[in-house]
Amino acid sequence: MSFSGRNDAAASNMKPIQVKLVLLGESAVGKSSIVLRFVNNEYQDNKEPTIGAAFLTQRCKLDDRIIKFEIWDTAGQERFHSLAPMYYRNAQAAVIVYDITKPASLEKAKTWVKELQRQANPNIVIALVGNKIDLANNRAVPYEEAEAYANENELLFFEASAKTGTNIIEVFTELAKKIPYEQILANNKNLNSRPGQNENGRVNLVDQDNNNQENGQCNC
């Protein structure tokens, strides 16, 4: 997988596949930090809590496809719980984050998994991510326990660190590999009967230009 750059002329000509991705998890497990690391390759200490759901995008190239992640980074606070269904409802991918130093956050993650299995799109690809492995000294959730749970529920499983950047790209790469693109494309065709034109009937030239201007590219 490579992230689209100016040199990928062939790839950039293709229409990107839009993938709606939603991040879920208890508050203060590092959802926003993971996204920030993924999108901007940055890290901020003492980030203020998210309000509602933040929206970010990132383009990636996988094999000969361009994937555009529409990332909805939801707030973990309980009062925003009612917003989550709006974002996971027709998401193709979900990243459920827990904090390896807090066992309660894994329990919350499990409830999210259950909620998704019950109410989300049945083809949704779910990744369980244990964040903050840079704090492995204070680890309270054993790797094996979380892995066993993930295997049991057929989830992708990673332990990562947004602070050091470990495993962050891998999470999204593995997710991207698992997504059933044929279905998405088929759905999109049904929705947009005239490809190349947006809903206003205009030819979409903006996208490609915009693509080159995008500054949120991955540096690796």
């Binding site: 933040a54 529409e70 709006m86 915009n210």
Partner: protein, 531 residues
């Protein structure tokens, strides 16, 4: 007392239908079987059922109300008569008898193999009176009322061995045991062809109850043995009791002279050695040195623990309770036996009023114990602030209320019955009216103040209120979150436009639409709730 032995013997018996040699062999075999139960004749297709008996014994014929299921074709048939008819008509011997017949044939073969001899009775024609037979002519018709078929080669021609009239084959397709005088006889060893009317009109054809006989005398015989033993025991114990009382009364009179009471008691009955057992004779609990000590029953002399022992009152005259002279100990078994007769007498002697009064007291005690619980439940139910109350507690309260009202009703009935009793004197009447008055006062105090349960609707309303406020809170929280998100999205949208990221702007726009829809939905719901 009489015991009935209800017997329903069904014999899918087997009687070969043709008169060939083979069949008469079967007949003989069967006769042996059937003669075991000679009291009622049971024929092959005569399934005699009693409703009760069928439940107990029938597995092949199931009973549904008055419906019988044919054991062969499982057809449902109403009534026993119809079933018998059905079996007679539909299932001819070659169908129904086959299985059973083959079993009989097998067993016969085995017996033949063992004995090595075939019985030769088959060749001997049984003697039967044929003088009453109708003479055969050219133009004969079947005598069965609804048949009237022309008799001949086609329909067959056969005299009924019983009534002697001529019938077609179909209506003589029945067999019955007949005596030599051609009368139905269940003890006869010989089977003869008979017509349907003779067959169905014979004794016991419609007998649905089966045979019964009184076994009271057997019961009485069995009881006599028991009772004799018991009487013997009782007499022995009473004798001992009287002896005890006598010696003790002597002891009382000679107050100055010290006589060992224990010695007297031991003289009445041999006491068991202390070391002879480690367990209570009755409950088998182990004796100890300090706890659970040994005690002797003064009537039977066995060793008992304290729990199995009772105080035994001693009367100078056992029939007169006022002559109590002292008490001693006996096991509760002995005490019961000794005073059984007396208790029975006193119970019978108890006047009707006393019995009714006891019942009233009993009902009142139930009410007294239940009322506080009921009131407590009511209090719980009426407290609206205590959160949602479960349906269970409502039902429980309803149950209590029902029981209470039942008891009140019972008390009322009993007091009225007391009033209806005959009175011997003025004072007797006063007593009766006073009891009735007392129970009425009780009812006034308790029944009239019995609070009604809150209406179910009321409860639902309360529950709904609680749910409503809960939901409103939820909606308010959700609205707040949605509004926050809405303003966030607006910001993102402006940014996207500013940075000329129009596809992102499109997604954000959709999201904003979603949010506004959601907000609208919640607003509508909120209005509905408030309305």
């Amino acid at each position: 007392m009489s015991a009935y032995l209800a017997r329903s013997k069904r014999t899918f018996g087997v009687k070969a239908q043709d008169n060939n040699n083979n069949s008469s062999e079967n007949e003989n075999l069967l006769n042996v079987n059937l003669s075991i139960d000679n009291e009622v004749e049971y024929n092959k297709r005569n399934v005699v059922l009693s409703p009760e008996a069928s439940l107990l014994t029938m597995d092949s014929i199931s009973l549904k109300n008055n419906y019988f299921e044919c054991p062969i074709c499982n057809e449902e048939i109403f009534g026993i008569f119809q079933l018998n008819n059905h079996l007679d008509i539909v299932h001819t011997e070659n169908q129904s008898g086959n299985v059973i017949l083959s079993i009989f044939r097998k067993t016969q073969k085995i017996t033949e193999d063992i004995t090595g001899a075939k019985t030769n009775i088959k060749n001997v024609q049984p003697i039967i009176n044929k003088s009453h037979w109708e003479k055969s002519s050219i133009d004969d018709k079947c005598s069965y009322p609804e048949c009237k078929k022309q008799l001949g080669i086609r329909n067959g021609k056969q005299n009924c061995y019983c009534c002697g009239k001529l019938f077609c084959d179909m209506h003589t397709n029945f067999s019955m045991r007949l005596s030599e005088l051609a009368k139905p006889d269940s003890n006869s060893p010989n089977w003869f062809k008979v017509c349907q009317s003779c067959y169905t009109s014979r004794e016991g054809y419609n007998n649905a109850e089966g045979q019964h006989k009184s076994l009271t005398h057997i019961f009485l015989e069995a009881r006599k043995n028991n009772i004799e033993k018991l009487c013997l025991e009782e007499n022995l114990l009473i004798l001992r009791l009287e002896k005890l009382a006598k010696s003790l009364s002597v002891l009382h009179e000679k107050k100055g002279v010290s006589v060992n009471q224990r010695a007297i008691e031991q003289s009445v009955v041999q006491w068991k050695e202390d070391s002879s057992t480690y367990q209570c004779y009755r409950c088998n609990s182990r004796f100890g040195k300090v706890r659970n000590r040994r005690h002797h029953c003064r009537l039977c002399g066995q060793l008992f623990c304290n729990d199995c022992l009772e105080e035994l009152p001693l009367y100078r005259d056992i029939k007169d309770e006022t002559t109590l002279i002292g008490t001693t100990k006996s096991c509760n078994h002995c005490k019961r036996i000794v005073f059984r007769q007396k208790e029975m007498n006193t119970k019978e002697k108890l006047p009707q009023e006393a019995k009714l009064y006891e019942q009233i007291k009993f009902n009142q005690s139930i009410v007294d114990s239940m009322l506080p619980k009921y009131n407590e439940l009511l209090l719980k139910l009426s407290l609206k602030s205590s959160g949602t109350f479960s349906k269970d507690s409502y039902q429980e309260a309803a149950l209590y209320r029902e029981k209470l009202i039942k008891n009140f009703h019972q008390i009322d009935l009993l007091s009225k019955r007391i009033l209806k009793l005959p009175a011997n004197s003025k004072y007797h009447r006063t007593l009766q009216t006073n009891i009735a008055k007392g129970s009425i006062i009780f009812l006034q105090n308790n029944m009239i103040t019995l609070k009604m349960l809150p209406e179910k609707d009321e409860i639902n309303v309360i529950n709904e209120d609680i749910e409503k406020t809960k939901r409103i809170k939820e909606i308010n929280v959700a609205m707040e979150a949605l509004n926050d998100q809405y303003s966030m999205l607006q910001g993102y949208y402006q940014d996207a436009l500013f940075n000329r990221k129009f596809d992102n702007a499109k997604i954000l726009e959709e999201s904003i639409q979603d949010i506004t829809l959601e907000i609208e939905k919640l607003k509508v719901e909120l209005e509905e709730i408030n309305f």
